[in-house]
């Protein structure tokens, strides 16, 4: 059963918007295999790349931040991105745990 533990990311998004920041909401919508965070986990990113919350254990957040800044710049309303098991290249972004996640990015407007 799902529990009611909640990280109050949406409340924080609203606070950011009140101070005229552009906010993209990133949500884990699907996971396959071993993934660090469950479906429904969230983070928010503003146009400067400040972020709060998480969609993994720190493995893919930097890439999510870049993507979010990108959709604000291009004024795209939403985008779906997937992350797979990381390859041998040490600096490549990926999930070290071997899982896969799909993250949905959407601008709040």
């Amino acid at each position: 059963m799902k529990n009611s533990f909640d990280e109050k990311i949406l409340e924080e998004a609203n606070d950011w918007i009140k101070t005229n920041q552009k906010v993209v909401l990133a949500t884990v919508i699907q996971t396959w295999g071993s993934s660090p965070r469950q479906v429904g986990s969230r983070m928010i990113v503003n146009e400067k790349g400040d972020f709060s919350g998480s969609v993994s254990g720190g493995c893919v957040e930097s890439a999510v931040v870049r993507e979010c800044i990108g959709i604000i710049k291009d004024n795209k309303p939403f985008k779906k991105i997937e992350f797979k098991v990381s390859n041998e290249s040490a600096w490549e972004v990926g999930l070290a745990c071997g899982g896969e996640i799909a993250v949905y990015l959407e601008q709040i407007n």
């Binding site: 799902k2 009611s4 998004a13 949500t27 919508i29 699907q30 429904g40 309303p77 939403f78 709040i108």
Partner: protein, 226 residues
């Protein structure tokens, strides 16, 4: 997501309502689902699947669709009896974990707004206080006064209402005496055994924040066993 939907979600969470957010991933449109209320034309053909997800309190993409659903359930109610030092730390942990806290203490100098700012404090004896709080099997009780006059009526109420978690502070000896009093009041061995006493998991610490951490850890663990 539209800002007005975000604001509506926050309002619903503040009001402790149960609902879901549905999002059409291919268009970015989202709306709030409330049980038994019709959905807009964007989502109404998925009503059955959305209701199924909602009933099983799951998040996820509905099979063979581009609809993502996230369900929100009511926070768990935790009643703390005794506005003592440990309770001040418990309140902080409980807030991060989204528990909904009420504090009962008939002693006004303990249950003050200054000690517990912005909290639901009921400055009454437990039997009176429980008339103001709706409780059920989804409620937890943390009894901290180790004063039988205050703790016992609260424990009896929690046992009768079958709270999923009941914990009581006090040494082994205090707890034995407590169990004996409950036996004399007609509670069964199984009921008495359901009380976590001495309260908390073994961490080794003795300071107020450490005891609070051991209690909240046990509460979270029992919440997942429900």
């Amino acid at each position: 997501m539209k800002l007005e939907i975000l604001k509506e979600i926050i309002k619903k969470k503040e009001n402790k309502s149960e609902f879901a957010i549905v999002t059409k991933l291919s268009t970015g449109e989202s709306e709030i689902f409330i049980d038994k209320k019709p959905l807009s034309k964007n989502f109404n053909k998925y009503t059955d699947q959305i209701e199924n997800f909602y009933k099983s309190k799951k998040n996820g993409v509905i099979d063979n669709t581009d609809v993502f659903i996230e369900t929100y359930i009511r926070p768990i109610k935790v009643i703390i009896v005794g506005a003592v030092h440990i309770a001040q730390y418990l309140v902080d942990y409980a807030k991060s974990l989204n528990f909904e806290i009420s504090i009962i203490d008939p002693r006004g100098y303990f249950a003050s707004e200054q000690r517990f700012p912005n909290m639901n404090i009921i400055n009454k004896w437990p039997n009176e206080a429980f008339k103001e709080i709706e409780t059920n099997t989804n409620t937890a009780l943390i009894a901290l006064t180790h004063d039988p006059k205050i703790d016992d009526p609260a424990l009896q109420h929690a046992l009768k209402k079958k709270f999923y978690y009941i914990g009581a502070l006090g040494s082994k000896k205090t707890h034995e005496n407590r169990c004996q009093r409950l036996r004399e009041s007609g509670f069964s061995e199984d009921e008495i055994k359901s009380i976590h006493g001495p309260i908390g998991i073994k961490l080794g610490g003795k300071s107020a924040p450490e005891i609070a951490l051991s209690i909240i850890s046990q509460l979270v663990s029992e919440t997942y066993k429900k």
